[in-house]
């Protein structure tokens, strides 16, 4: 159980720690500033000031709501892969491709050898951690997802691409650790796309995390996890952050068949609906999770990043999940596997 690791890292968290996956919606004033920056009406420095203002807004909001492990909300990021591709040598920005429905993103193109010139996220992490006494997660996109969600015009195959990116991500992890980060989330939402490549993803994650003293979380979502479970438990991280609500808690059936052995950030609100769940709905999801999972292993959070919701919806969903987590903490007889 990774509670011991958290203790070693001097991170004191209550039962059912609450957190969020990473992104929050950008407030209107930031959207306006980003549009102005795109039209060259404001400078990069002016945009960054607004991004800092929005980051502070979300830090204060998370504190006010009572969230235990905070995120910076990714006010300075667009897409989780494109953001890193813009900062790392070897990538070029590609055109728009569709993600779902009417949502699109710029899919990067690897056109040369990928590399790491210096920290990408560290200054933002330091700024955010400086705003709060609560732990703030360092948040990175994993090498397998960076590879899978980019076009490749340089490397001979997917394995060579993935392992080259693992070396780059490790350098960023080391820089975050040096800056003082203790909880680092490495997102791998592409993890189940090709089940036969799970060994490659595990190898790449070892290359990123081996020998480094942090509590590692990996966010996975919207995949065919039945194709990589229980093998995914070989991934060298402490906590899987997973979507449960949108998929009707179906992963729990897999956990019943083969015991789940890590900590888990349990997605109790659906980020793809405008509806803010009633607390009774959130509580029922958590209760069902605890039929299978030991309570000491369970963190509580949304299914995925909340950036596609409105500010009010995101706050409403976070408020509901924090309230339910607190209520469960105070129930001495919480049912647990």
């Amino acid at each position: 159980m990774s509670r011991e690791k958290l203790r070693q890292l001097k991170i004191d968290l209550p039962l059912f720690p609450t957190t969020s996956v990473g992104s929050f919606p950008k407030p209107d004033y930031l959207l306006k500033a980003r549009a102005e920056f795109a039209k060259h009406q404001i400078t990069g420095q002016e945009l960054e000031e607004v991004e800092r203002q929005a980051t502070e807004f979300w830090i204060r909001k998370q504190e006010e709501l009572g969230v235990d492990v905070l995120v910076d909300g990714e006010m300075y990021r667009g897409d989780m892969v494109a953001y890193f591709a813009e900062k790392l040598p070897g990538f070029e920005e590609g055109g728009l491709v569709r993600s779902y429905g009417n949502r699109y993103y710029h899919k990067p193109i690897i056109t040369g050898k990928v590399g790491w010139r210096g920290p990408v996220t560290v200054e933002w992490w330091k700024y955010t951690q400086g705003l709060t006494s609560r732990p703030v997660k360092g948040m990175l996109t994993g090498p397998y997802t960076l590879m899978d969600w980019s076009f490749n015009e340089h490397y001979p195959d997917r394995r060579a691409t993935c392992l080259a990116l693992a070396g780059v991500v490790r350098k960023e992890v080391e820089a975050l650790l040096q800056a003082g980060a203790k909880i680092i989330q490495i997102d791998e939402p592409a993890s189940s796309v090709r089940p036969e490549e799970l060994p490659l993803m595990v190898e790449a994650m070892h290359a990123v995390t081996d020998g480094l003293g942090a509590y590692f979380i990996s966010h996975l979502c919207y995949g065919a996890f039945e194709t990589i479970y229980p093998g995914m438990l070989d991934l060298p991280v402490d906590n899987f952050d997973m979507e449960f609500s949108n998929s009707g808690l179906d992963m729990l059936d897999l956990f019943r068949k083969h015991r789940y052995t890590k900590d888990i950030s349990f997605g109790v609100v659906d980020v793809h609906t405008h509806l803010v769940e009633e607390e009774s709905v959130v509580a029922e999801r958590l209760r069902r999770g605890l039929e299978v999972l030991p309570k000491e292993a369970v963190w509580v959070d949304p299914d995925c990043g909340l950036k596609t919701r409105t500010v009010d919806e995101a706050i409403g969903k976070m408020r509901a999940l924090v309230s339910v987590a607190k209520a469960f903490r105070n129930q001495p007889a919480v049912h647990s596997a």
């Binding site: 728009l96 779902y100 076009f151 796309v193 659906d270 793809h272």
Partner: protein, 331 residues
């Protein structure tokens, strides 16, 4: 070997300039109550016409409407059927594209045409034959769930599969009635479950029975089709559309000959890198020489919606470059 050029199925519905962003903009405006459904349909028409025009300009012999009206390959069809509601998001195979999963709660019924109007519009705008694309019953069933405790009486996968088959057979008949001469059934799930090819064969037979004189194509992609080769040859379709990017052994199998016409997906529809035209021409030459096929078509390996629009356009134009190289090498 006579070579024709065809689009596989989808084409990007967004690009970098304002005209190419019309549909995205209009849908967002409708969500804010600033535009109507009719405005969105007009934007879809505009994008479909643009897609058809770009395919013709690229030199294709057979075009599609780019499927630009489709929310995704699953819910666009299943969502129009009775007995089906559309539920949460799931990843579409190994892409970074997500579809909404159909939840079947009652008997699946075709209560209205699915893509007939879309075909008629594209055909009006095209000087070339328009191929109609339908996601196949097997893939629809594989990617659907059956809601428990509803009035469909259970029955699991087979009931869903049979329901979708009956509905799509009616759609095939309606398309033929509307003048369609080329209909492609996309079954990417078949590559994942090759043992189910006899079931897929029965389903395709039901569709083939309603196709009249139209040419029926089965498209298998996003997986290795080479283990399926012998089974594919027995299926009741006229053309096999194959994705070579997942199948190192497929080229060898094809060279041994095919009882079916072939659509050769030798151009990677998932990566921006343009293939070496000479290398692809050599592959075509080998296929032509070894298989004895009199004709084949060259296509992307899958729909082009996974590429940025400018790169998708380059891929289509690259088909023409490859054909020119091929003709030069065999002349």
């Amino acid at each position: 070997m006579e070579l024709t050029l065809a689009n596989h199925s989808s084409y990007p519905r967004i690009g970098d300039d304002a005209e190419e962003q019309l549909l995205r903009r209009t849908i967002a405006q409708r969500e804010r109550g600033e535009k109507t459904d009719a405005d969105v349909r007009a934007a879809e028409d505009s994008l479909a016409e643009l897609a058809v025009g770009e395919q013709i300009d690229a030199g294709l012999d057979v075009v599609t409407d780019g499927l630009v009206r489709w929310y995704d390959p699953i819910s666009h069809l299943a969502g129009k059927l009775g007995g089906v509601r559309i539920a949460g998001l799931l990843r579409f195979f190994d892409t970074n594209f997500y579809f909404r999963q159909p939840a079947v709660y009652a008997k699946i019924e075709r209560t209205r045409p699915l893509v007939v109007e879309e075909f008629l519009f594209a055909q009006r705008k095209s000087s070339r034959p328009v191929k109609v694309v339908l996601t196949g019953p097997y893939t629809l069933a594989r990617l659907s769930i059956e809601e428990e405790g509803r009035t469909n009486g259970g029955g699991g996968f087979n009931r869903l599969f049979d329901g979708y088959t009956a509905a799509l057979a009616e759609e095939v008949a309606a398309l033929v009635q509307a003048g369609a001469t080329s209909i492609q059934i996309d079954e990417p799930s078949l590559a994942r479950y090759p043992d189910d090819s006899p079931q897929v064969g029965r389903s395709l037979a039901a569709l083939a029975a309603r196709k009249g004189a139209a040419e029926l194509t089965l498209a298998v992609y996003f997986g290795d089709a080479s283990p399926l080769w012998d089974a594919l040859q027995k299926l009741p379709v006229d053309v096999l559309s194959l994705d070579f990017t997942y199948s190192p052994g497929l080229l060898e199998r094809v060279q041994k000959g095919s009882a079916k016409k072939l659509a050769l997906g030798l151009v990677d529809g998932r990566n921006t890198k343009l293939e070496d035209a000479g290398a692809v021409a050599k592959q075509l030459e080998r296929i032509g020489r070894a298989s004895g096929l009199a004709r084949a078509s060259l296509t992307p390996s899958c729909g082009l919606e996974y590429l940025p629009r400018d790169r998708a356009g380059l891929k289509l134009r690259h088909l023409a470059t490859i054909k020119k190289t091929f003709l030069g090498s065999v002349a």
